[in-house]
Point group: C2
Chain length 291, copies 2
């Protein structure tokens, strides 16, 4: 396994692979790796000759009052995990090698990015899309793997690939969870014990709502109330949003209809803001029940 820090060297290596016809898979991460990340590496590995894992805590996707300076890090452990998983190259650049001091070009999305996390994190997705575009151009992958936990992010990245015509296949990996159902996230390590215990509120709310949909409830107003009890039980978590949106357009829906609905949730705890989501499909549920 090789560690590359210099973006120009990374790009040179990538152009060498390109000439040799090597299939390259990219897994972008901000480090502090957990089983969720490793599941993405395994997906990439199954479809590529060479897997590049990028490890870069991207400053442009953090707002001024967010947790950039508290984002957890354990590079030694990350490198050991990458080695074990058979990653070929860890690309680990310094921020000032990635961004010129007078950087002024950004990739911006103007529809899907407006709601959900975009509301409370207005510059977040501009930073995400910009750094992912840069990574695509530096690593020149044939495919890139992203986790479904960041549901809005992966939909935005697919949109960017479509709208800017990147010759790259985007693959999603399912959410990987802790034993109690909490979605794995590097940020979980910033929770104190009491908050970590209450972090189950996201998954419990989502499953409760999914259950109600399976039982035939279609009204979003009614479904939304199913989360109230769980939120009352977890006073350390302040609801940022609980939204029912079309799974493709991310536009709000008033009821669960034929089209798949993304149910997404963000809760702010004292140490970290957590997100989780589930895709509701009434058609699929109805088909299951009919069997």
């Amino acid at each position: 396994m090789e560690v590359i820090r210099d973006p120009q060297q990374m790009q040179k290596r990538a152009m060498g692979w390109r000439r040799q016809g090597v299939v390259v898979g990219l897994v972008p991460t901000m480090g502090f790796l957990h089983d969720g990340h490793l599941s993405l590496v395994r997906i990439a590995k199954a479809k590529s000759d060479v897997v590049v894992l990028s490890l870069f805590v991207n400053p442009t996707q953090f707002g001024p009052n967010e947790d950039l300076d508290r984002y957890p890090s354990n590079i030694q452990r990350d490198l050991e995990l990458c080695e074990q998983e058979g990653v070929s190259v860890v690309f680990m650049p310094d921020a000032d090698a990635v961004y010129a001091a007078d950087a002024s070009v950004f990739v911006q999305e103007e529809q899907l990015s407006q709601g959900l996390c975009g509301l409370s994190r207005p510059i977040h997705f501009r930073g995400v899309l910009t750094v992912v575009a840069k990574l695509f151009n530096l690593v020149l992958p044939d495919l890139s793997v992203f986790g479904e936990k960041d549901a809005q992010q992966i939909r935005l990245i697919r949109r960017m690939v479509r709208d800017l015509n990147f010759p790259i296949k985007i693959i999603s990996g399912p959410i990987v969870r802790e034993a109690d159902g909490v979605a794995m996230s590097s940020r979980n390590s910033n929770l104190d014990a009491a908050s970590r215990e209450q972090a189950v509120v996201l998954r419990k709310s989502l499953l409760d709502i999914q259950q109600a949909v399976s039982s035939g409830e279609c009204s979003v107003a009614a479904l939304r109330k199913r989360a109230d009890g769980h939120l009352a039980d977890t006073p350390l978590g302040a609801l940022d949003y609980l939204e029912f949106v079309d799974n493709e357009t991310l536009e709000s829906v008033a009821e669960i209809g034929e089209r798949a609905v993304l149910l997404a949730m963000a809760v702010q705890f004292p140490g970290a803001r957590l997100i989780d989501n589930i895709v509701l499909e009434r058609g699929a549920q109805a088909a299951l029940q009919a069997k």
Copy 2:
């Protein structure tokens, strides 16, 4: 010579070239080709195995009251000229194959794009950078050639290549002029005879100012007045801007100093808005005079 209309087919062809190690040069145009465009083709041809000329009147770079529907076109003649110049592929997509109806991802520049043409054409450069990023991803060129007539545009494209890390070399071609000094432009054909005659105002003003700089005048306020007489002589042309900016940062300068200055000008005629520019280098002039 081959004409490709389908973006997916263009990208597939490009990926084939990539695998074969073919060096690809791209010349993006909006068609109605003139000797300025052909000079860019020759530059590309000298440095590439294969030259792709794109011919696409990009709707997203035109404002609502601009000349999108009057932009001149003569595709048959364009194709003949490309054939004569040894272009390998003319990429000529339809607008609805380039942009999805719900396209929502754009490339935006936030510093260099604010002044000069960006002032009177606020969405212009967002459209330019977005379509050039798309062309880069569809044609996958090793190098791409742009004309210096569009001085702000080429500086923005270089900035985009740097900030988004495209593995592409940007080459500029000098301005090609008509016998009377007017910079070649497809839009010149939209001028009536009287306007065409008065179009010399740009070149005359620029040369007059350059001459004054050679003679030692450094004050931008004084230099700016040198254009007044020319503009008074050409009543069909309304000055949009005459700006002295740092050649790299595009920030306004109050006098000609050691750093190169871009002197750029735009004049609105009844049939077309024309631009021209010249780079002023006091150091270079002084060195010339000292010889």
